[in-house]
Symmetry: C2
Subunit: 416 residues, 2 copies
């Protein structure tokens, strides 16, 4: 099956807004076994609609359009589609009633202008819009089965899933299901992970495995297409197992679960508590962990001891220690971790101190140098990170924060 | 002038990657006075190239293409363009030399396959690629002036700016310059700001003014197009002045400057220091302020007193106060602000305590309720925010953190 996507709107074609609808629809159609051959984006110009529609109905089996279904004079999809099909526009009584009801629910009166949203090319089927005023259109023109959807992304997505996919399936245009499984790793670079996974990521392998990196987390995305979801999951299973076996403790979670989610889950499971003392990361560790709902049972709190005086005032780090070793030192990292654990009566105390840049680096202590400290009842350890002096401040803060939390994760993993 | 953008690549048309090149090119062409009528995205299929290219050269004055210029068999732009123009492909000696030199700089040997990147349709002009191996193509076919650029975004952007724009200008296809000025406001909702700016945002006004909202900051974007940049700036000036006068202290900055940047600049200018005590925001206030380089002179640090015990241990907030008023109360917010200011010897102490959700809300203290405390040598004040119980956790944390910092901003503004 050959598919085509048409996005309509002057704001899209002029670059005032990014066309993410086409991107999403491509993924959906591809996942259902339809090969998308073209995306076309055009403005609100009737002549341009006709050229694009006529091309599409002659060359595609499935055409999905978004936009141009609103009540204004700029909204030309209905008129252009009727002209392309050589039919007239007729009013659909049910759609008028549905639009009136939508306005009533919002305590507003439907304007006469909104009636145009109930006009459809003769022979078309209206697709009800449960969350907006613009109904969609379902129609066959020449070779193409056409679905016109509103441009508002959440309306479009809902209608695509609930109405377009079932109709395509019924017509036999869609007969496949694609399933993805994403496994997230932290602790090694992308190229290193990739080198250990050449067999998995080989082109043409079934199921397909891709590697992506985001915010220092490396993800494997396993993709399988089959006639049913269950079959696709069966195809994925052995590959997922292989990744778990091969990468062991590097695996932090699946889907959207990253290092902070893993740490939160482990703390809860171990009934352990964490406290943090941050210098160069300036609150990023705390923010990452408190972003997770319900973490308040495990995360007690912490200190952002940004200035040296704050390390002394809040954590009683001895001034002499800072003066002899410098604030960026394993000794100070250890003292911070110990102090915050003791102060808050936590099971684990985690500390960061480093040079986040862009200024403040020296040859001995360059930008990107970060020391971590981790204190437990069994003792205190430190680690050195070199994020790289060419990295921007936010990357240095985020990467070292994630590495710090990952150390907590590995420590809790060993204990089990 | 009528423009058209063509993006080539199977990874784009299937939704494996988002086509941001078309978006960027649309903005650029529009800014230079060219009306973009179509974007087309297509995969690596020669037949599809020909259909799209033939349409484009018949209907557009300027066509910019990206992608399909690599050395693999999937890269069909050169061949399709030659076929569309009815000419043969010829090797360009200078391009061969440039590609060889690029490989030499990277200490690699050019493969025979890379020679195809030096093939051009007869009559075309090579566009040198200073940062990659794929040269671009500049060519006139029928009505259209065509620029083919690599798909790698940074190569494409550099070549568009340095080579395509000057050539378009030389041909008289580009004769305008568009300038934007973005003014950022914080402290009122988008609809409220919009209601006060109906005259500015009216359609057809010169210069044009748009409103956007991001992360609770409302931005006016003034856009003017003229023959020179200086002329465009002159057109913008009176509108910018009007916005400053009308919105006064709501204005936090221009461009990418938001509330944290404004606070950091004001603290530095006033030679004042800030300390923070966060409960529900869990480090987000600290993270926002420490994201700004060089803020260590003004921001001393703070406490993330997430658990009640942390408020007692780190800030000596009396247990009785928490028990009688609850942790989420103006009394506790005030005590936290006072304590952190005193502990760290700061000029300003800022505190947050609230219910970030999704659970933990009660009828009296619903999700989204946040109290702020601000302590200075002149006394301590509190404020109540109701972010809304339907808002997600991260929005509640970010919005209340920004509102807290905005309070610091307004306080420093008054002092001046």
């Amino acid at each position: 099956m050959r598919g085509e996507i048409i996005a309509i709107g002057s704001e899209l074609v002029s670059g005032q807004s990014l066309d993410t609808n086409s991107y999403w629809l491509s993924q959906q159609l591809t996942a259902h076994g339809i090969t998308v051959a073209f995306h076309t984006t055009l403005g609100d110009v009737l002549r341009d609609h006709l050229v694009v529609f006529r091309n599409a109905v002659a060359r595609a089996d499935v055409v999905v359009m978004t936009g141009g279904l609103g009540p204004t004079q700029d909204d030309l999809t209905r008129a252009a589609l009727a002209e392309c099909a050589g039919v007239s526009l007729v009013e659909d009584a049910e759609s008028v009633a549905a639009i009136e009801a939508m306005f009533a629910r919002r305590n507003r009166v439907m304007s006469e202008r909104n009636r145009v949203q109930a006009l459809f090319p003769a022979g078309a089927t209206p697709l009800p819009n449960p969350v907006g005023t613009a109904p969609g259109i379902w129609m066959q023109v020449e070779r193409a089965t056409i679905a016109c959807l509103p441009g508002v992304p959440h309306e479009m997505k809902l209608m695509f899933r609930d109405q377009v996919v079932p109709r395509l399936r019924q017509r036999g245009l869609v007969d496949l299901v694609t399933v993805h499984q994403k496994i997230n790793l932290f602790g090694k670079g992308e190229s290193e992970v990739e080198a250990q996974a050449m067999d998995l990521t080989a082109r043409g392998r079934v199921p397909e495995v891709g590697i992506t990196a985001h915010d220092s987390t490396i993800s494997f995305r396993i993709t399988a297409t089959a006639c049913t979801e269950a079959e696709a999951r069966l195809l994925i299973e052995p590959t997922a197992k292989l990744i778990y076996e091969r990468f062991g403790s590097l695996v932090v979670g699946e889907g959207t679960d990253d290092v902070p989610e893993a740490v939160a889950a482990q703390l809860a499971a171990a009934n352990a508590t964490l406290a943090t003392a941050e210098s160069c990361t300036g609150g990023v560790v705390a923010q990452m962990i408190t972003a997770i709902p319900g973490v308040s049972r495990s995360y007690l709190g912490g200190v952002v001891s940004y200035a040296n005086q704050a390390k002394i005032d809040l954590l009683a780090v001895p001034r002499a220690l800072i003066e002899s070793h410098g604030a960026v030192s394993p000794e100070v990292a250890a003292a911070m971790a110990d102090a915050v654990r003791t102060r808050l009566g936590a099971d684990l105390g985690l500390a960061t101190t480093g040079v986040a840049g862009p200024s403040g680096g020296t040859p001995e202590k360059p930008v990107g140098l970060v020391y971590l400290g981790l204190s437990t009842s069994k003792g205190t350890q430190t680690r050195r990170l070199d994020i790289g002096s060419d990295q921007p401040r936010d990357i240095i803060q985020r990467r070292s924060s994630k590495a710090a939390l990952n150390w907590v994760r590995l420590t809790l993993l060993e204990k089990r």
